[in-house]
Amino acid sequence: MSKSGFGKMRRRDVLVGMGAAAMGAGARAPSVWAQAAEPLHFVTWSAAVDQVKSHLTAFEQKTGIAVDYSNSPWANYRETLVTKFVAGAPIDVLWVSDSWLPEWADAGWLQPIDQYKDLTRYNGDVTDFCNNSMSYKGRQYGLTYYSDHMAFYYVEDMLKKAGIDTPPQSWDEVTEQALKIKQAGISEYPVMLALARETWLIEFLSAMVFSQGGRFTDEQGMAAMETGCLDALKWVVDAVNVHKIVSPGCVETGELTGLKAFSSGTHAFALEPQYRMRTINDPKQSQVGGRVKQVLMPKGAKGTHATVGWMRFYGMTAQVQKDKARAENAVKLIEWFGGKADGAYAFQKLVFLDIGAGFCTKPLYRDADIIKAYSTYGDAALVEQQAGFARKKDVVTSWFGEWNEINGQVWQEAILKKATPEEALKRSAEAWNKLKKEAS
């Protein structure tokens, strides 16, 4: 977008003039000119494109730094970026998912940003979960783009119709209430779970595992799936096969399909990303619009209201850090988006108000516009409370992708009764430990 911008033409003219003058003075002008004339290369996935463009235009006008913005679809963003890294394509600043951080940092494609005080000064405003999610091996690799977590929803009038006054606080209560709703003929499968083998699956699984007080790995990074993880899988297996409160079709239901199913009013409970609340409670987009409420994640017997959170952030490549001047410009760009622009968290607020993307910057919860927006479809205080229980995925490693394929498969096999939960998790654990060993 900036390539044909008027601002850049003027800047180029100025730079050419400066270069010529410097050459005349015998300085090392040509290389300086060449470096400065090259715009910053900013790569994102195809989300909030209009918002990014408008915020970028303001940045270019304010700083005079040219930015070459490009985006790729989310579905194959990781593969596209890895290919670009390997091919040495010019990338300076980019959006990164916490899931890829270890892989990209270990490969040397991403560089820490914690040496730049202009960026780390925002850490105090961000939740610990988010700061942890942007860190790897003790170094911080970015500044927040957006953050979200899994949340538990219920359709209030469906519960009331079944004689239920209080939403569930535990997974056992979810079972009890779902059975009541089912027996009352209100919904055949009261609980909606989206457990198809797609990128969202690990988020759904992690949310259930964490709320059961479990985890996939221990402090040493070895597989630890015998307790809370097993409880979560057993709950799903029983819910599908014994209580029949979750549809067996959950293994073919992706996140988006699940959202549509819940929005159609055929389920009473759903586990969904927090940012979907806006769509679910919009009567124009959802048949249960205005009737859906959130409750803290149900707890397992040894669990808490813990849920899984995820983080997308602005990272900086090793390529840009080789050039001090470009790196300084990249820092300015990251700060403009991930930190404050003109003294406010403008971009995070913009994407929240425009598309409902979540944030983990605490002062934004006190922002009047944000509170007002939340009040139309949710409860900002409850969202903040649930966000406080969010935990980083404990399987984010450089071998995560390979293990994720196997783990998704074995969970589905257990749900389909092709394996017992114990056998399924044993296979998942073995695969994890094997991949960990190979990676080290």
Binding site: W104, D106, R197, E252, K260, S264, Q409, K418
Partner: protein
């Protein structure tokens, strides 16, 4: 002249070429050269390079660590039970699909070979599935099979054939056959056309003579039509087998290898290995093994059908 030609560089090779090939041969080679160069660049080189890559433990996310492992990638795959499961599943998918395509294609070809009112319209309508892009076809079947709002459940329910919605793609016992059904739907028109073209080439005299001799419809089909269709059947079997073995689109759009590993066929495994795990070494090895399986199936089809039909 001889002395003059010697004085120019390159004159000797030109003279050798003139002696070795006549004008027509030289022209033919010259005209073919661009095609050979392009094919060499876009087909032969990638195939050879993929084999070269398959000899390394090449994973894109581990730059700088690309050890030469010889044939270890192949050995690892051959020892992996999931590879053999995928091969078995691919073979099953291929056999079921190709058999259904052949039978349905033959029936349609027989129908279109008859003169009846509206034949052209029927022929045009039957081509529709073939004309639909693969991705659109996959998305359409995903909608049809959806257990919550799918057209299949809706139709069966309204016809009173089911009393509640059925889980289609989520049931591992049904999934592979449902994918095969979607594949057959798209491929049948091509098979029908190939068989119809072959059918049209059968001399009408043969049928007239057989009728005079008292052969009934079934006898005419078994003794004239079917043997004459051998080239068409062979073409359909070989082509559709190759397409089925390598088929990926529907598995990607409908099931992603699931539920569980119910549709984890070889082509899906190659995709996961190469483009999700970004393990190009083992992915290339897997692709080579799949190519060998494709070749073996085609060879078996030629051997079996070539002598019997």
């Amino acid at each position: 002249m001889t002395g003059l030609s010697r004085s120019f560089p390159g004159a000797a090779p030109r003279a050798w070429l003139s002696r070795r090939f006549n004008y027509e041969e030289r022209s033919a080679y010259l005209l073919l050269a661009p095609l050979v160069i392009v094919l060499g660049g876009v087909a032969v080189f990638p195939v050879l390079y993929a084999f070269y890559v398959s000899l390394f433990r090449l994973k894109l996310t581990r730059p700088g660590r690309v050890p030469f492992v010889g044939l270890d990638n192949y050995a690892d795959l051959l020892r992996d039970p999931s590879f053999w499961t995928a091969v078995g599943r691919t073979t099953y998918f291929t056999l079921v699909s190709v058999a259904a395509i052949l039978v349905l294609g033959l029936l349609i070809a027989l129908l279109l070979n008859q003169a009846f009112r509206g034949r052209r319209l029927v022929g045009a309508l039957l081509l529709v599935p073939w004309a639909i892009p693969s991705v659109a076809n996959g998305l359409m079947w995903k909608w049809i099979y959806d257990s919550g709002y799918g057209a299949l459940n809706g139709a069966l329910y309204q016809l009173g054939l089911i009393d509640k919605y059925v889980i289609w793609l989520g049931d591992p016992a049904k999934t592979l056959l449902l994918v095969a059904n979607a594949f057959v739907w798209k491929e049948v028109p091509l098979a029908a056309i190939l068989l119809l073209v072959t059918m049209k080439s059968i001399p009408a005299d043969l049928y007239r003579a057989a009728t005079v001799d008292g052969a009934n419809l079934l006898q005419r089909f078994l003794h004239i039509t079917l043997p004459s269709l051998r080239p068409g059947v062979l073409l359909v079997v070989i082509y559709e087998s190759m397409v089925a073995v390598r088929h990926f689109d529907l598995f990607y759009l409908l099931t992603e290898g699931g539920p569980g590993d119910a549709t984890n066929v070889a082509a899906w495994q190659i995709y996961v290995e190469s483009f999700r795990d970004l393990s190009f070494g083992s992915g290339s090895a897997l692709a080579y093994l799949l190519a060998i399986v494709t070749f073996a199936l085609s060879y078996a089809a030629i051997r079996a059908l070539g002598s019997r039909l």
